[in-house]
Structures are given as C-alpha cells and as structure tokens.
C-alpha cells in the first residue's frame, strides 16, 4: 500500500469512525465473554453450594447458568455479525469507494 493512500485512508472520517466503533465494540464483547466464562468457572470453584442450589424440578442453579454461558457465546457472535455486516460494512464500502 502506497504511503499517500495510507494517509488518505487514515484521515478519512469514515475510517476514524470505523476504527473507534469497531474497536470499542469488539473489545467490549470480548470482555463480556471473558467475564461470563471465568465468572462461571470461579462460581463453580468457590461457590459450589450456590451452584448446587435446587431451583425446582430437581434442577440445580448450575443448569441455567451453564446453558446461559452457551447461549451467551452464540448471542455475542450473533450481535457482532448483525452490527458488523450492516454498519461496519457500510463504512468500509464508503472508505473503499473514496480511494477508488
């Protein structure tokens, strides 16, 4: 990539917006997933009594929490795809258009 093209993209307001939004959103979702998963592991390790709490029908609290971790992984990827394939790709398309 030529230096003048790089600096043109760099200074493109669409690129600045894409960079800020995608960076913030990506890292937020990453941190949410890390907190959910390691929170789940720490609960299992240090709050076994809470996890073993019956919530009716012979099911313990650990069940909805475990399934919740699976669901959260799917939801997080889904939320990212929805936003990125719409908003971010529109910005990307505009950036590409500007250097054509």
């Amino acid at each position: 990539m030529q230096a003048d093209m790089a600096s043109r993209i760099r200074n493109n307001p669409d690129f600045v917006e894409l960079e800020a939004k995608r960076g913030r959103f990506g890292w937020t979702l990453t941190i949410i997933m890390l907190v959910i998963y390691y929170g789940f592991i720490l609960l299992l390790a240090f709050a076994k009594g809470v996890m073993a709490m019956p919530i009716g029908g012979g099911i313990t609290l650990a069940f909805p929490l475990g399934l919740g971790v699976i669901a959260s992984a799917i939801i997080i990827t889904g939320v990212y795809v929805l936003r990125a394939n719409g908003e971010y790709d529109r910005l990307t398309a505009r950036i590409r258009e500007s250097v054509r």
């Binding site: 240090f46 313990t60 650990a62 997080i76």
Partner: protein, 555 residues
Amino acid sequence: MTASRLARALPAIFAALLAAPAFAADAVGQTEKQATNVTAIVMFVVFVLFTLGITYWAAKRTRSASTFYTAGGQITGLQNGLAIAGDYMSAASFLGISALVYSSGYDGLIYSIGFLVGWPIIMALMAERLRNLGRFTFADVVSYRLQQGPLRALAATGTIVVVAFYLIAQMVGAGQLIKLLFGIDYIYAEIIVGVLMILYVTFGGMLATTWVQIIKACLLLGGATLMALLVLITFGFDITALFAKAVEVHPKHAAIMEPGAMVANPISAISLGIALMFGTAGLPHILMRFFTVANQKEARKSVFWATTFIGYFYILTFIIGFGAITLVATNPAYLDAKGALKGGGNMAAVWLADAVGGNLLLGFISAVAFATILAVVSGLTLAGASAISHDLYASVFRHGRVNERDEMRISKGATVALGILAILLGIICEKQNVAYMVGLAFAIAASANFPVLFLSMYWKGLSTRGATLGGWIGLILAVVLTVLSKGIWVTVLGNPAAIFPYDNPALFSMPLAFLFTWFFSVTDHSASAQAEADRFEGQYIRSMTGIGAEGAATH
C-alpha cells in the same frame, strides 16, 4: 476406569477413548460381537463412495494452488461455519463428552463449554483481520510485515506440532473405535483411515475436504438431534422426568445434577479454560478455514454459524449423556458382568443409539463416527501439508522463488507423507497412553501460535526477533510443562509424583510467551525492527478495510 478418574480435566476424555485397548486385549469376545454390524458397514461404504465422488468432482476443479489450499475462496459463510463446526465435532468430542455426562453428569457440560467460549473472541478480535491479511496459511498473517524465514519456520513448526499431536490422538482413537464398532482389525482400520484421507486431500484439496466435513457435520448433527429427540419422546418431552430418572438410577444419585470433581482444583480448571479458549484461536486447521471465504462478511458469518452449531451440538450431547444414564445403564444387555459399559466408557452414545433406535440407528451412528474421524484427520493433514509446502518449502527453503506447479507437487507429496506417517504413528501408539495429546495440542496452539498471531495484528512494536523468540519459548514451555505434568510424568513415564502440579500448562506458558515476545521486541533497536514498525500502518489499514486483499496478495 472409575468415574472419578473420568471426571479429571482434559485428559480424561481421551483416557476414556483409550480404555479400548485394555478392553480389546482382555475381552476379545465383545469385540467380535460387533463383527456382524452389516448395517454400519453398508452405511459407511455409501458415505465413502459418495465422498469419493465429491473428491473426483473437486479434483477436476483443483488446478491452482488457491483451489488446493483454500477452495478458491468460494465457500459461503454458512458452508464454512458447518465445516468449522465439523472440524470441532470430532468423534472424541461426540463420544467423549456424552461419556463424561454419562459418568459424571453436569461436569460434562462444564467441559464442553470450555471449547465454545473461544469463538466470540475469534469473532470480535480476529476473524476479519485474518480474512483480510491471510492467503493460504496463518503464517501469511504473522509474516506479513516481518521477516519471512524465521516467522514462517516458527508458524510451520507450530502448525506441524499441533497437527501431529492432534492427528495421533485421532488416529489411535479411530483405530480403537473402528475395531469395536465394525469388527475390523486395528491395523486395517488405521490403513483405511489413512488411505481415504490421502485420497481426499491429494486429489480434492480444500474443496473436497470442506465438503466431506460439511456432509459429516450434517450427518452428525442430524443423528445427534434424532437421538436427543428419541430420548425426550421416551420421557414425553418432560425434561424433569428425564433428570429424576437419571438421579434415581445413577450410582452418584443427586450429585450428577451439580458440579463435581471437574473444578476440584481451580487453578487447573482456569489453566484448561485458557488452553481451550485461546488454543481455538491458534489451531492451524481452523485458522486456515478463514481463507476459504470471499470476504470479511462471510468470515463473520462463518464464526456465527460455527458457534451456533457447536453450542447446539454440546446441548445435544448433554441430553444424550443423560439419556444413556436412564436407558443404557439400566439395561443389562449393554453392561458387562461388573456393570460397566460393554466396550469401554466411550460407548454410552453408541449403545443409546441401539436403545432408542435399534440396529439401524446403531449402524448409522457407528458409520457417522467413522465418517467424523475421516473428515477431521483430512482437515488436519491439509493444514500440515500446507505448512510444509507453502511455508517451509516455498518461503523458507526457496525464498519465494518457486512456481505454483512445484508448490502443488510438494503439497501433494507432503499429504501422502503425512498420511503414511499418521498410519505408522497410529500403529506405533496403539498401546500408548496418548491421553495428554489433545490437551497438549491446544496448549501449544495457545502458547506458540496465538500470541504471535494476535500481536502481529494488533501491536505495531512487534519485531521479528520478539515474535520468533517469544513464539519458540511458548512452544517449548507448553511441551516441557506438559511432560512434567501428571498426564505424562506419572501416567506415561511412571514417576511417583508430577513436577508440574496442573493438568494443563496454558495459564503459565501463554502469558510467558506474551511477556517474552514483548520483551524481545521492545529491546530490539535494530533498523529492521524500525522498518517492520513502519510497515504496520499499511497492514493495519488493510486488516481493517480489506483494501489490497483481493487478487494476488503482495507480500
């Protein structure tokens, strides 16, 4: 094999898979009992003929290096998502996780969750950049602005080591499983798997490998869905009735409904979690799949579909495991004299197929298990062969001065060599305890491949010296600490106590790899390090926008 042993972290699953040699040695009668499984053999032969047809179709289209390595980038997001899910849903995870649920209940779910949670991180931080920067292998990305030779040598070694351990674990498991399910001798089972895998990969490249994986993923998801539905029908779709019955009949009773030994040691559990989470983002055969789609939009869709299918699959294995507790453990036809499962702990899902669907479903599930092994080893072999031809041969030895025909020739030769090596290692390791191997593969992926790959995309200051030294330190640490841990030091080498107290090294080896990579980069004041930092800008803009990613990659 006692339940408490099964409940131990990662190696337990594969230890269960390897309960088979002991069984086969002292209980030949039961192995022979499976020799008449004509249904399974017929279904498997149909699968093989169909996939060989696909390979023939793919072979006619595989004329360029780009088709061979990445199916020409024409795979859609949904197709790629299925293929990635297929790479992940190995026979070991299908049979092993349902077996872990069968023996320990809830702990099986904890274990499977670890394999899933890496995907959102791959999505949010890596998928787009991988697609925009890479061409054939993940080494393309790490060597984008750094020196080709040392970085490709590191990435190719990381690839080959991960593939080798993963492959041996799959081949040994495959031989034992096929011997049990089909009544075929171990050595022939190895040869059948090895030869078919060579045929798929050599002639059909990534196109055939992807379609074999997609078909197998659909068969496995379909078969597992059917089994879970039949279990639920048995209990009138009353999930509490299923759990109540399981608690009543399981020797551990109510303890199967709560977390047990899986997180007895929190440090070990977190270390395993790190290996599974970040190792996923460093598995070469998975990373390679990001180059088979056309653009970042499709790359994102791939991750979403893969996560959805894998998550759904783990929920199914959970239901299947509980189904086996209620329907298999209560039926003497599936148990030996001591009350253990016939054929070893891993047979829970297989016997459940018989219990809810008779011989037809048993045959189908057996054939699917065989197909699963074939598809997974094919993907692994393709990744290994690509590292040898594209990274080692074309870049390290020939310094990029190589034509496409020669590179393809080397790829195919490497595939055949890896296939033969896999057969030989499978036969040599038949009686070995290879339980630690998949854990080690994930630990190396998390400690050698992931830190260098991640920093190459995110950190301007990464230099060739830092990446090379940090990556090698991560690789060596992961291997050495695993050797000193219980899985090898005690179980394989027979020493009385482990020197490294945790099951998986990733909690230590991965942060140390990051630390050393950082340290050797910031202390690198060479002119080449400065030039590498200057090239980051162009790489960054391409990784964000995909500008420059189309057509021939210029690096």
